[in-house]
């Protein structure tokens, strides 16, 4: 955990009083809605279909139990008793009253949480691997650098009014759980031949209306130069990114229009003029940030404790363990994923009571720490393996032990037309129906890893382009229709999915998905060939033939 100091706390508190003043001026009419809009967006406040929506940042997906309780408190006190975890390590509350927002922010500030820049045309919450610091084989903890970037991007005086939103993601593992290739800037931490820490920098990835996979702009930027290099990219973008058309304003369009070589050259020229500046991060500063991350005092524990051997006789426990428990870098410990995808539930939602219970379990079993992943699930990152059976019982009791992590019912979905004023179609009911269709754990397990992503409109908050199966809601003659793609993925081999056929009406989506899965089962070379690999090997055509033969 990163511990805020007095300086961090001061900034958040000053931000809260500033926003309190802005809300007051809006309510008194001194600020017009047009003037206020950008100010509230920069504090995470959207106007949705029914009410204001409030998006709170969970930087690099790390939460303390105290912070999670504060989120539960906000859900209970200011909202309707639940929150929605998003694909960018944020949590959203859907029923907030404008006049109460400053109080909600003040309550969160007490535990070092804020909503700064969770929307608006500025640098957004810096996201990272939810297993950062505990994943076996990780180069080093990427959260040190995420925190440096969090501070650097917070209230930046030059880049708070960019052409469009701007998102960073960082990973330090070979397997990319942070989806860095679909971010405006993606950073892959690694060590060069001299053993120095640095980053492969990718730029111009993004989903939305025009999806692009990020391109490498520089194969190695030394850690010391990270901020100056990032500043050079942002400065080029701030000056030359398009501002005439909101749909062409993301950096991906600038990179695409200039070409990556030309863009890289512009950035390089800018960077060479400022690389030796106050932005250079010296080792002492890095160590200072590192020293404020606390790590658990792990014990020496057995990999196969008696408790685990005994519980292995319970098939339900075993199904959950095999699905939701991952290896930890420290022997005797495990990373446990908590599924927020119960059968029939809206993906990513958690009630205030669940949040409180999870905070208690984190205190008891995970050194008080919780993680949030972009797949809209939570994780307890430091669980002693001997505690797994007891933890499982407790998680099952509160409904977050569905053994479907990474399986077909572990669906990513945006709020869709049920909440969002931008949406063309509903997302949540589609996800709910699919979880019912694939509720049988043995079937889901037999299907294997399969990510379904659903967006209710072209803005792609549900990351449909990079779902193994992607579902996009569109509107056709006043009706909800859905375009379906297959073959997308968001990891280190990121690709945008390919359309499988004509859009289908709301009522047929689940049938089509079932048919795609049927086709896969018939087409796969071996039981362990994953859906995504079968699509890669065969292309879309054999799927199209089978699924659309009778349509």
């Amino acid at each position: 955990m990163y511990a805020y100091d007095e300086l961090d706390r001061t900034i958040i508190n000053e931000r809260v009083s500033e926003f309190r003043d802005q809300v007051k001026r809006r309510l008194s009419g001194e600020l017009t809605e047009d003037e206020f809009k950008m100010l509230r967006l920069q504090n995470g406040v959207y106007l949705q279909l029914h009410a204001y929506m409030f998006r709170v940042a969970i930087p690099y997906g790390t939460l303390s139990s105290k912070q999670l309780r504060a989120l539960a408190h906000v859900a209970r006190r200011y909202d309707r008793g639940y929150g929605h975890f998003t694909t960018r390590q944020n949590i959203q509350f859907n029923w907030i009253k404008l006049a109460e927002l400053p109080d909600a922010l003040a309550d969160l500030a007490e535990v070092g949480i804020h909503a700064m820049q969770t929307s608006g045309n500025n640098t957004r919450n810096v996201t990272s691997d939810q297993w950062a610091g505990v994943a076996p084989g990780e180069v080093e903890d990427p959260r040190i650098w995420s925190e440096l970037l969090r501070q650097y991007t917070t209230l930046h005086p030059e880049f708070s009014f960019l052409p469009r939103k701007f998102k960073f993601a960082i990973t330090a593992s070979d397997h990319d759980r942070a989806a860095i290739k679909v971010h405006d800037i993606g950073l892959r931490l690694y060590k060069n031949e001299a053993g120095e820490t640095g980053f492969e920098v990718l730029v111009g990835g993004g989903l939305g209306r025009t999806p692009f996979i990020g391109k490498t702009i520089k194969p190695f930027v030394h850690g010391h130069d990270l901020l100056s290099y990032v500043e050079a990219i942002l400065r080029v973008y701030n000056q030359y990114g398009r501002r005439d058309n909101i749909y062409k304003a993301r950096i991906k369009i600038l990179v695409h229009e200039l070409g990556i070589e030309k863009f890289a050259q512009e950035v390089e020229e800018e960077w060479l003029q400022m690389r030796d500046s106050a932005l250079t991060i010296d080792d002492a500063v890095i160590e200072d940030i590192r020293s404020r991350f606390t790590y658990p005092a792990y014990e020496k524990l057995p990999h196969m404790p008696d408790e685990l051997k005994k519980a292995a006789h319970d098939p339900h426990f075993e199904a959950w363990r095999k699905n939701s428990v991952a290896l930890h870098k420290v022997p005797g410990y495990a990373i446990v994923t908590l599924s927020l995808k119960p059968v029939g539930g809206p993906p990513g939602d958690a009630t205030a009571d669940q949040m409180d219970a999870i905070a208690d379990l984190a205190d008891k079993y995970s050194f008080g720490e919780i993680r949030v992943g972009h797949e809209q699930n939570l994780a307890l990152p430091h669980v002693a393996r001997r505690d797994l059976p007891a933890l499982w019982k407790a998680l099952d009791k509160i409904g977050v032990a569905t053994p479907n992590v990474n399986l077909v019912s572990d669906i990513i979905a945006c709020p869709g037309l049920d909440y969002c004023s931008l949406a063309n179609a509903r997302s949540i009911p589609i996800a709910q129906e699919l979880t019912r269709r694939f509720a049988n754990h043995d079937t889901a397990n037999m299907i294997g890893r399969l990510h379904i992503n659903i967006s209710g409109c072209i803005n792609a908050c549900g990351h449909h382009h990079v779902g193994h199966i992607g579902i996009l809601g569109v509107e056709k003659n006043g009706e909800e229709f859905y375009q379906i793609t297959i073959g997308g993925r968001a990891d280190e081999k990121a690709e945008v999915g390919t359309l499988i056929g004509p859009a289908v009406p709301y009522g047929e989506v689940a049938d089509v998905v079932e048919d795609i899965v049927e086709a896969y089962l018939a087409l796969r070379a071996r039981p362990d060939e994953l859906f995504i690999d079968t699509v890669k090997r065969l292309g879309v055509e054999p799927f199209r033939e089978r699924v659309y033969a009778t349509r």
Binding site: E35, P157, N238, L279, V285
Partner: protein, 171 residues
């Protein structure tokens, strides 16, 4: 539109001269970039003080040869949501060493004052009277800053290092 300089509302001594109006031989004037570039050499050497209103879609590099002779550079915020002038301001101050008046003009509102100050602006043509009056109070909103810019404010990262040093010195 009130002008705020040195933290106070003040009278603007620079006359805005339209592109088709005659330029007076002396007296302080503010003219458009297009007008200025027509005869930059002569205009930057006129007896009276000269300032230029520079658009936010033109590189400030074109202005660099004349910076020492300019009394004002006014950068534009066509709407407060268009942040290009922040980059221009920092480049002028931090890269090109411009020390004259750097004026923010256009939709200049209270909630951008701190960002503008940090980017190097020291004069503000403020859209609303009430915002201009609130200038002094507004710029005190923040006391801690994460980013180094040319305004010389110590960043949180460095303040922490200083605190560490003083702690260890005290031990």
């Amino acid at each position: 539109m009130p002008l705020v300089k040195s933290g106070k509302i003040t009278t603007d001594i620079f006359a805005h001269v339209a592109d088709d109006a005659a330029i007076p031989g002396d007296g302080a004037i503010l003219i458009s970039a297009a007008r200025f570039l027509e005869d930059a050499e002569a205009l930057s050497r006129r007896v009276g003080r000269t300032g230029v209103i520079w658009p936010n879609n033109r590189d400030v590099d074109d202005l660099v040869p004349y910076l020492e002779r300019l009394a004002v550079v006014a950068l534009l915020f066509p709407t407060f949501r268009d942040g290009r002038a922040y980059s221009q301001a920092r480049l002028l101050r931090e890269r090109h060493g411009y020390r004259g008046e750097l004026r923010a003009t256009g939709q200049v509102l209270r909630d951008q004052f701190v960002f503008m100050l940090r980017a190097g602006f020291d004069a503000f043509e403020v859209k609303k009277e009430s915002d201009a009056e609130a200038f002094a109070a507004t710029v005190k909103r923040y006391s801690v800053f994460y980013q180094p810019t040319g305004d010389g404010r110590v960043t949180a990262l460095h303040r922490r290092m200083q605190l560490r040093h003083s702690e260890s010195a005290g031990q």
